[in-house]
Amino acid sequence: MPKMQARGLHIGFYNERIKKRLNVLDGIDLSVAEGELVCIVGPSGCGKSTFLGAVDGLTRIDGGDVLIDGHAVTKPGPDRAMVFQHDSLFPWRTVLENVVYGIELQGSMSKADMNGRGRQLVELVGLKGFEDHFPHELSGGMRQRVNIARALAPDPELLLLDEPFAALDAQTREFMQVELLKILGRAKKTALFITHQIDEAIFLSNRVVVFSARPAKVKEIVAIDLPKERTLAIKHDKRFHELQSHIWRLIEEEAARTGLVTAS
């Protein structure tokens, strides 16, 4: 059974300004196996985040369904965790207090156990020694690590990442990509990752899902036939570039269809 399965997912929003209903997702079918890291790319505004919100249970579903281990999603649950683009760490909580937030809400662990687990995670994301710092004392990359640790703390089975590195500078982003693979490898999680960066998508994943322009459908699923061990050097590989231009062409077609760029 797939870890996550979306079947004919439809979502629409009523737009107040133009007084019309806009279809955002137009029948998404996608399944993700346990332990897989799948990236979703697509033209800007195509509904990638909406899809992730639906999987998390934050966004209302209008048609079709999302199954986690065969059970339909109706609301957020401890089996899923979201890493948002803006790290949104609570500024009044220390690093450790931020990391244990999800566990604290569940209220099922003693304070000592909770902090023990929190410390483990802080160490896992490479921030040992920063437990008692406040978010404003950390760099953007460090805050995003805390954000990831916070999502991992309640031990979710499926990690949902919504452009988590978009706000980071190019260098930090590349290092964070390597780091994320290590963290996910160690934590043994299934993950859905949304990004605008095609190279990021290829580098991280087993499969890249390309969404069409809004209303979004799955345009193509590109299998990434690169070695399992990923280092930054792979970005200079010939195959990497072929995949990159292939995916870029797919997105360009979609963008041209909606008039974002003129077709050549």
Binding site: D56, L58, K75, P76, G77, P78, A81, M82, F84, H86, S88, F90, P91, W92, R93, Y101, G102, E104, L105, Q106, G126, F130, F134, P135, H136, E137, L138, S139, G141, M142, R145, P154, T172, F175, M176, V178, E179
Partner: protein, 278 residues
Amino acid sequence: MTASTNTQNHASVESEDLAPRSSFFARQESTILGTISVVSFLFFWEYAVHAKWVNAIFTSSPLRIIAAGTNMVKEGTIWQDMATSGLEFGLGFGLATIIGVPMGILMGWYRRLNAVFEPFVNALYATPRIALLPLIVIWFGIDLGSKVAIVFLSTVFPILVNTMVGIRTVDRDFVKVARSFGASDRQLFLTVALPSSVPFLLTGLRLGLGHALIGIVVGEMYGATSGIGYMMSIAGATFQTDRVMVGIIIIAASGMIMTQMLKMIEMRFEKWRVDSRG
């Protein structure tokens, strides 16, 4: 990556220590300049009276104020006045906090409750509460009750309104995070809305403090039997400028001390805020 972010962070931590070590005088410059200007002003004031450039009956002078203060301490009436005003302040401000904070929280959290009470709050917040004094004296007499009432009314609205705004302007991203972790309404309130409204609440208390002092002084001048404001109005009516000045100094000093205390509490609660660390 680990190494690179760590060094980045250490660099930023160290940069504070590496800032050029300035001399004692350079670091204390503003304190020294401030002290010099105040002391010179006091000397000039005293000398102007001494040289008969101005009439001490109108302007008083630092030495006369000290003498008047010493006399008032000897007579013992000053303690009675301070106790009266202090009690009025404590009861009024305390009551306003006890009622204003929970009301603000409830009105910020429940839209319906807000709709019910907002017209009253807006109307009373916009009215200078001093204008209610005649009514308050009719209801509560000229003793303790009317002063507590005016302090309460002066203070409760800034506290209530600020707390309410704090609860209402919670960052949507924080709400999304909490919801994503499955937070219930109660948990959302306790872990997100309440802590993020603390800075607003403290601002409300600080604004309330200023209003409370105005309330006490004007209230006691309007009608009272003891208190600092009462003492000042009697001294003023009998041309005892020195004693009026003593009253002004007491009010100003207590205002400054209490504002400072609130600032310290603010620092304590907002150590996570970037701008409060300087």
